[in-house]
């Protein structure tokens, strides 16, 4: 039992010590993903199965490359935020929860970086 009033707990910004920051960033990334999804999915879907040369030619266009890199960046950011909430909801034990949260954050950075690097390599290969 900790001798803390509810008022005092709120002033410490809650159990995660960052108040509404995570919640707010999640809304922000979701808003950004709405136009990005529309801009990304159609060129990507059309490029699927068109062969290597056509795909490279498409993403050598700076606009398509920029949208793809931005979609991957914000997409994995939003994914990390969402998966973090799911882990926090369903994994109560401290050790596995911490391990999963670390893997989640690092894994999403890994895939985002790989995606951005790949798009950039194609875009600058002209």
């Amino acid at each position: 039992m900790r001798y803390l009033t509810d008022r005092n707990r709120v002033q410490g910004l809650g159990s995660a010590h960052q108040g509404v920051h995570h919640w707010w960033m999640q809304r922000l990334s979701s808003l950004a993903l709405l136009p990005l999804t529309v801009a990304f999915i159609f060129p990507f879907g059309q490029a699927l199965g068109q062969g290597h040369a056509a795909v490279v030619a498409l993403y050598q266009h700076w606009g398509h490359a920029f949208v793809a890199a931005l979609f991957i960046t914000v997409g994995f950011w939003h994914l990390a935020q969402g998966l973090q909430v799911v882990i926090e909801d369903y994994v109560p034990a401290k050790a596995p929860r911490t391990v999963l949260l670390v893997l989640n954050t690092l894994g999403n950075w890994l895939f985002a970086a790989a995606g951005i690097f790949a798009v950039a390599k194609i875009a600058f290969s002209a």
Binding site: M1, R2, Y3, L4, T5, D6, R9, R27, S30, L31, L33, L34, T37, I41, F42, F44, G45, Q46, L48, G49, G51, H52, A53, V55, V56, Y59, A68, I72, G75, F76, L79, G82, L83, V86, F111, A112, A114, G115, F117, A118, V119, K121, I122
Partner: protein
């Protein structure tokens, strides 16, 4: 001392007690599609990495993604993406304090379901 009952609060009844309703089903679906889209995002990155590495490796990955199983996974991901996006907009309206009437919640839920199916069809027709 606000901590007297912390950790000993009454628990809410378990999920299986409740009758499935459109509100709860769509809420669960939002989380399921969100988690499921991890696979779609990883596949997209795999495809780009393959395209950046070599034409031979790209042919392998692109072939996998356009095989019948790959198309099944991607088409499901497209529906999950549109559902999660549209229901996300529904959530943003709720966050702004709009659309909380039970009748509106039901209607917006049906609209999101129908809209996600329509957008999926349009996407699959256009690509």
């Amino acid at each position: 001392m606000a901590d007297v009952n912390r950790g000993k609060r009454p628990l809410s009844p378990h999920l299986q007690i409740y009758r499935p309703q459109i509100t709860s089903i769509l809420s669960i679906l939002h989380r399921v599609t969100g988690v499921g889209l991890t696979l779609g995002m990883v596949l997209v990155v795999w495809w780009f990495v393959a395209a950046a590495l070599s034409p031979g490796y790209f042919a392998l990955v692109d072939g996998l993604l356009t095989s019948w199983f790959g198309v099944l996974v991607l088409a499901t991901s497209v529906w999950a993406l549109w559902y999660h996006a549209l229901n996300g907009v529904r959530h943003l309206f709720w966050d702004a304090g709009w659309g909380f009437d039970l009748a509106v919640v039901t209607k917006s839920g049906i609209a999101v379901l129908g809209g996600s199916c329509a957008l999926t069809l349009i996407t699959l027709l256009l690509v």
